[in-house]
Every structure is written in C-alpha cells, then in structure tokens.
C-alpha cells in the first residue's frame, strides 16, 4: 500500500505543477431532456450497463435481515417501499401512489399504485405488505433492523414476545389500501418506509425456498431491477424489471455491483476504466485525487458524526464534567480534519449533523471561541478537576482497527498531551472485541464511536443515549433525558417537537457525554458520463435515476468494460 502511494505521488509530481488528467476519464456529451424528464436518446450511450463498486460482500439480500450500506444499496434497486427517494434525497411516493394521515398523526392509509407489480407479473397487494411487516417484526425472523418498525402499534410488545406478530397494527383495507396504526405520532415515519426492513417480500418464494429465496432465479422483487446473477464476493448483477411500475422511465439495462475488500483495488479498477462508480476512495490521497481526478471525485456531507464517547459509569470520567469538558475543548478539530483525516470532513461540536430539513442543531457556546481560548478554558477546567503538572491524568483511548481511527487517535492523544499534559494509552482492538468491551463498560474509559443516521430525523441520534438503549455504551443515565425522549416521541406539533429535540441535544452536549470530532462525508469517484444522480445527505443513489451519456470523443471505453467477469 505504501508503494502504491509512492507510485501515485510519483505520477502526479513528475510532470511539474499541473499534470494532465488521466486519459481514461472521458468528457460527457451535453444531455437534453424531454417533458417527462427522461434524457433524450441522442446523447445516451448505446450500452446502458453500469458498474458500481460496492464495498463488502452483502451479508444477505433478504431485505428484512440485511444490514449495512452495501446491501442497502442493492436492495434499493431490487425492491421498493411504500415511499422512495428522489435523486436529491426527498421522500416521494414509491409503491404507494399517495396516502392520508389522520389528524392525530396515528393512522396512515396508503393507496398502492395499481401499476405496482412483482417481478413475476403478479400484482403487489396490501396483503403483501401486511404479511411482510409481520414477518419483519416477528422475533423468529431475527431481523437485525426490526426496530425500524418500532413506531407501529404493538411492535414493541411483539419484539418482547408478549404479543403474536399478527397483532401488529397493520391492515389491508382492500387489495390496494394498506393501513398502519402507530403507537406514537412519528413525523419521520414516511422516511422510514424507504428502509429495506419495510420492503415487501414475496411470500410463495420464501415458503418454497426458505433461506435460499434470495438466490438468482428464486428472488421475486418489486423494484426497478431483478437479480440475475450472484457470484459470492465477486459480482451481483441486476437487470431491468419489465414489470416495474415505471419500467419505461428506467434507462439502465443492467447494473453490476462488485464487492471489494480493499479500497486501493477498487481505485485501480476505476482507473483502469472497469467501474463507473466507486464505494470509497483510498484514504490519505485526497490532494492527489483532487489534482488529477477532480472531475470524478465527489465529496458531500453525510448524515453521520464521528465522535469519542466517555464511559460515564467508571473513573476517571464518572461524575467529572470538568474533566470531560477539558478534554473536549483541548482538541483542535480543524487540524484533525485538514491534516489527519483530510477528506473535507466538517469539524463539529454537535451530535447531530447539519442538513436536516427541519432541525437546527444548537451550537454550544465554546464553538464560537477561538482555538486558543478553548485551550485556555480546557486548562482551567483540567486544574479545576484536580489535575495538573504534578498530577497528570492517565487515560486509555480505545478504538477499533482502522488506519483512519489510528491516525485520529494518535493526533488526539498528542493534542491532549500538548495542551493539558495528559498521558494517553492507545488501545487498538479488533471490531467485535471492541464492541463487546464497549457494551460491557468495564474496561473502557474513552472510546471511538460514530453513528450514521438510519432515517432522516434527529431522533435517530438522540435515542442512542436513552438509558435503556442497547448501544448506550457511555452509560448515560439521566431520567430527565429519558423523559424528554418520551415527550419527543409523543409530541404532535412539529415546532414543539423540534424544540424538544434541540433541548435534548443541548443536554447531551452540556453533560459532555461525547466528544464530537467531525461530520462524515460521503466520498467516491464517479465516471463523468454517469448522470442522473445527485448528492444527498442520506447518500441514497438509486440506479433507476441514472443513465450513461456518450463521451464527446467517438470512442466509448465503457462498452467493453468489465463485462467479461
């Protein structure tokens, strides 16, 4: 990897100040659109096959069992929920053409698109949704994300085994009318419906094939594409679903997802012209990429926060707000993002990332100070906590194995040392060991965390710190905070709910449960000929919106790429 980095640096630096961009990035033709918003034939590439790098091999393509971004990317192409996302990330009608929400916000009635079909041509019905949702919440299914459906009436009781899955608050009023009763008004409910856990699954296939119902040939889906080939840890190929309700608007004929275990390998495949879209970019090469592949490098804010968390149940951080605050103020986030992580990440003092349509994160007062002032305050608090040159704090900073985490941890430790004189021991752990230690709260002191929002609402971050939440590894136990969360859950007026959420975030920041570092960015390389997609904060990019444009020169390398494997 080191050699590769040198090689790249060499390519860029040899030819003087402005090296010519690599010849393999073709310039796209201008595209015109018809009234329906469909791109006109003239500029479209002859072969519409898209090759997308997609990170790790998905654990499964069963929408209810799947976890993680790679599988969600594929599932959004294969299936469609009641709602779906537009290229810019807006929630728009999906399998449901429209819906009514009752005044109390507790009853949602969805009217399915009469055109909605399964990939075998059978009509998609409200009963399909009823059965699928009951399956998703049934403990026997073991759905990892079943909590997505927690707002639905009786879901909690079904999770805990008190009620049968059939008790779930969903009803098929007719073949095309699907009604959902919620336990609490959930303003973000429509957004949840883009999540794979809420997708319908084809019952006969499941009953006939069991665990192998998602193999090519067995899988029946209702999205814009169908599964046509799957070679484990190599490629997953989807073809256009002729029965999709908007099949006419889908330009792409096939999309091939490739799994990669190594970011440099994916990058090489992109450079060699085998991919139109990468899942990530090699870390530590931002400036080279910006100089040489600027037109392909896409960086945008993402709905996630990188932070460290304090273990509040044990010394030295238990009951020591001043110390936690001192450590938080002592680090220089600008140096961390500009010199260490270096991918345009956004320094933050907040838990909840910016970019939500109806939420403004409260800015803590120390965010407005200069770094020098923050460090001065940090030293004051550090002394107040009883530490100083003759009694330095010794602390363990724990993180899971990753080059970026290591670099950040080293830098943070250096900053603490420089500003406060803290002695930090870095502890690197393999991911599952790390998770277990975090959850047990016995050996942790301060540890890396990070969270990517599941749905477009601040609550997805706030609920993590409920005293009963399974991932509350900080051990934050504040009855006032718990009550606040309960009030947010039952609040019906949008403005009051917004205020309550801001209050909750203020509480987390004031109690210094976490040490926020930066807002994540999504970063990838995209062939300039691949169009129709837009950056959006949830980082959802459905292939059905995309299309390939001809290159300005007559040669079209894309027509021969990677199809052989």
């Amino acid at each position: 990897m080191l050699v590769l980095a040198f090689g790249l640096a060499g390519c860029g630096a040899d030819s003087g100040e402005a090296p010519a961009p690599p010849p393999r990035l073709p310039e796209p033709m201008e595209v015109a659109f018809d009234e329906a918003g469909r791109p006109l034939e003239a500029a479209l590439a002859r072969t519409q096959v898209i090759h997308r790098g997609n990170g790790e091999e998905p654990q499964t393509l069963d929408p209810h069992l799947a976890e993680g971004v790679p599988s969600a990317n594929i599932l959004r192409d294969l299936f469609e929920g009641l709602t779906t996302t537009a290229p810019d990330g807006r929630i728009v009608p999906g399998a449901a053409r429209h819906w009514d929400i009752s005044r109390d916000g507790l009853t949602y009635t969805f009217y399915l698109d009469p055109q909605a079909r399964w990939s075998n041509g059978e009509p998609l019905t409200a009963q399909d949704f009823v059965w699928s949702w009951q399956r998703a919440v049934a403990p026997a299914t073991g759905a990892s994300n079943s909590r997505m459906l927690a707002p639905v009436l009786h879901a909690e009781a079904i999770f805990s085994g008190e009620l049968e899955p059939e008790a779930l608050g969903v009803t098929a009023l007719s073949d095309t009318t699907f009604q959902v009763q919620l336990a609490d008004p959930t303003p973000y409910f429509l957004g949840l419906l883009t999540h794979p856990t809420t997708y319908p699954v084809w019952r006969p296939s499941l009953e006939a094939f069991g665990a192998s119902h998602v193999r090519p040939g067995n899988l029946v889906s209702n999205g814009a594409f169908v599964l046509s080939d799957w070679q484990v840890r190599s490629r997953i190929e989807l073809s256009r679903n002729e029965h999709y309700r908007e099949a006419d608007a889908v330009v792409v004929e096939r999309v091939v997802y490739y799994s990669f275990e190594d970011e440099n390998t994916e990058f090489n495949r992109f450079r060699a012209g085998d991919l139109h879209w990468t899942y990530q970019v090699p870390s530590g090469q931002f400036s080279w990429l910006e100089r040489n592949m600027g037109e392909a490098l896409m960086v945008a804010p993402w709905f996630g926060t990188y932070f460290f968390s304090f273990n509040l149940t044990r010394e030295p951080f238990k009951e020591d707000l001043a110390l936690r605050r001192a450590l938080t103020l002592a680090i220089d986030r600008n140096i961390l993002t500009e010199r260490v992580s270096r991918f345009g990440e956004i320094p933050t003092f907040n838990l909840i990332p910016p970019g939500l349509p109806d939420y403004v994160p409260p800015v803590p007062e120390w965010a407005d100070l200069s770094q020098a002032e923050r460090e001065q305050e940090a030293r004051r608090l550090y002394r107040q906590a009883g530490y100083g040159p003759d009694r330095a704090l010794s602390v363990e900073l724990r993180y899971n194995t990753s080059e970026n985490h290591r670099k950040i941890a080293v830098a943070v430790a250096a900053m603490w040392k420089q500003v406060l004189g803290v002695r930090t021991r870095l502890v690197n752990e393999e991911f599952r060991v790390f998770l277990q230690n975090r959850a047990q709260r016995r050996v942790t002191q301060i540890f890396r965390a990070g969270w990517i929002g599941d749905y477009q609402d601040a609550f997805t971050f706030l609920e993590l710190f409920h005293s009963g939440h399974g991932r509350n590894d900080a051990g934050y136990d504040n009855p006032r905070y718990d009550r606040l969360l309960e009030r947010i859950a039952s609040e019906r007026i949008a403005a009051s709910r917004r205020n309550l959420m801001a209050e909750a975030e203020r509480m987390i920041l004031a109690d210094q449960v976490i040490l926020p570092v930066y807002t994540y960015v999504s970063k990838r390389l995209v062939d300039p000929r691949l169009q129709g997609w837009q950056e959006n904060v949830m980082d959802h990019h459905l292939t059905r919106h995309m299309f390939l444009v001809k290159a300005k020169s007559s040669v079209e390398p894309s027509e021969e790429v990677g199809d052989g494997d």
């Binding site: 050699v3 654990q59 069963d62 494997d565």
Partner: protein, 312 residues
C-alpha cells in the same frame, strides 16, 4: 504399498478429529459473537437468532451436533453470509483457488527447478550469484507489494491486462498467478540449487562421470532425480497452502477464492465457515504429505514402505 496407504489413511482420521476439536473450541474462545453489530438487537431477537443457530446450547452439545452434521457432509449454514451454506461458499470459492493455485504451482515448479539446477551447475560463478540474488529478492518482496506494482504497471499504465476481477480466462489469471508463483519460484530455485550441488558432489556422480557418461545424461538421469527430494517435501505443505488461496492476492485482485474466508471468517466470527476452510486445509495437508511420501518412494529406491525399510 496398499498396506501402507491404508495405515496412513487410518492415522489421518484421528489427526483430523484433533484438528476439528481444537479449531472448534478455539474460535469460540474469541470474544464477541457472529451476531454482534454496532446496532444493538432487542434481547428477544437476539435469543431467537441464538436458538436458530443453536448457539444457546451448551458448547459440548454444539460440538457433538457439528460433528454429526460434518460426518454427513454438511458443514452447516454460514453465520455471516446468511443466504449461503458453508458447502455453497466452498463449492463456489474452491475451484477458483484451485485453478489459481495449480497454475502457480506448475509455473513455479517448472521455472524454479530449471533455474535452480542451472545455477547449481554454474556454482559460484556470476550467473549463479545473479540468479540467486534475484531469487532472494523474490522471497523478500511480499506479495502485497508485488501485486499492486504489477497492477499499476500492467493494468493501469500499460492497460494490457485487467486490474482485477475474476473469470476462468487467461488474461484475468496472469497477474495473480505471477504474484503467487514468484516467491515459490524463488524458494524452489534455492532448494533445487542447494540439493543439486550436494548431489553433484556425491561419490556416485563422480563414479558415473568417471565412467565417461555424457554430462547431459549425468544431470538429467542421475543428479536431478535425487536432487528433487527436498523440493518434493517442500511442495507437500506448500501445495496445500497455495491451493486454499491467498488472502492478500484475493483482496488485491478481487478474486472470490476461499483464502479470505480464513481471515474474514474469523473476524466475522463465522464459526462454521472457519471450520469449513480449516477442515479443507487439514485434509489437503494430510493428502499432500501422503502423496509426497509416495513420490519419495518412487524417486528414491532406498525408500520402501511395506518391506520394513526406513521411513524418512
């Protein structure tokens, strides 16, 4: 010979049994479980998952269940790749790893033996030093350096070969096979050279030379065969290792072989998958060591197994 083979087969069973037992309990000692994730599962669901995969039973019961399944040829469901069984995953990955490994093995053997013998014949001359220095470099350069270099030159800069991806085709196999074969070529060349020199200095070679046999005959008929013995004993375990894939090569060239399962399986706490590949590796080691012994007997007339002769 048949007697000997049967005896060897008989001793393979307890060896495998020990291996399975050891691997089974060792992987479960690792902290964390297959269904741990950053997202906490509701306890009821966790309990159901544990029940579904029998993880809630006492370890000894799980072990007995596993052995019973395995005897019937079922390696169980993968705990990580939920849509596939371990049998599926190995059936998909093993042919890929075998094809690559076999190609690398043949290439390494052909080049390594020729180069090694050639260097031995020019012992302590510039050719010898050059060839052996190159071999030393070949052993020293790790494949995670060699592979990206090859990709950078032949795929990205020259565009002659694909940068990765898999198909049973010549162009996609070239770079990974070279990467796999290079260190092996170097090893084999060094071993061949060493033992060839030893053989060339032995008294019976002096005798055949003194009898006036042409040098070509001396080398090919009399020297090379015994000189290959150490190469053969190296090849036994090496073949088992290379046929079960290489984590690094698979990662860098995105090859869906089974090498990654040894590492990824352990990281994912995919107990059954790790067991599956470990058993496969164990079987191959035993098999190849057995083949090596048979080859020994064929190459060296002094070794006869069923006649109370010396076993090496």
């Amino acid at each position: 010979m048949l007697n000997y083979s049967l005896r060897r087969l008989g001793s393979a069973v307890p060896t495998l049994f020990l291996l399975i037992t050891f691997a089974f309990f060792l992987i479960r000692v690792a902290p964390g479980g297959p269904f741990d994730s950053e997202r906490a599962l509701p306890p009821e669901i966790e309990a159901n998952l544990a029940a579904k995969y029998h993880l809630d039973e006492p370890l000894v019961v799980q072990y007995a269940r596993y052995l019973w399944q395995m005897v019937r040829g079922d390696l169980g469901p993968s705990f990580h790749y939920l849509d596939w069984s371990v049998n599926d995953l190995i059936a998909q990955g093993a042919p890929v790893s075998f094809a690559l490994g076999l190609a690398a093995l043949v290439l390494a053997l052909a080049i390594g033996v020729v180069v090694g013998a050639w260097a031995a014949l020019r012992q302590n001359r510039p050719t010898d030093y050059t060839v052996m220095s190159i071999a030393m470099v070949g052993i020293s350069i790790p494949n995670f350096v060699m592979a990206p270099l090859l990709i950078l030159v032949f795929a990205v800069m020259l565009g002659w070969l694909p940068a990765g991806g898999w198909a049973f085709s010549f162009d996609r196999m070239v770079l990974p096979v070279i990467t796999l074969a290079l260190p092996m070529i170097a090893y084999i060349a060094r071993i061949t050279r060493g033992s060839m020199i030893e053989v060339l200095h032995s008294s019976y070679i002096r005798t055949v030379r003194a009898k006036g046999m042409p040098e070509k005959e001396v080398i090919l008929r009399h020297a090379l065969k015994p000189a290959l013995l150490p190469v053969i004993s190296y090849l036994g375990p090496a073949a088992a290792a290379i046929l079960t894939g290489s984590v690094v090569v698979e990662r860098i060239f995105t090859i869906p072989g089974i090498g990654s399962y040894f590492v990824q399986g352990a990281l994912n706490r995919d107990y059954t998958l790790v067991m599956g590949v470990v058993i496969l590796y164990g079987v191959l080691i035993i098999l190849f060591n057995f083949l090596v012994d048979l080859l020994y007997a064929w190459l060296d007339p002094r070794i006869r197994y069923d006649e109370g002769g010396t076993e090496t």
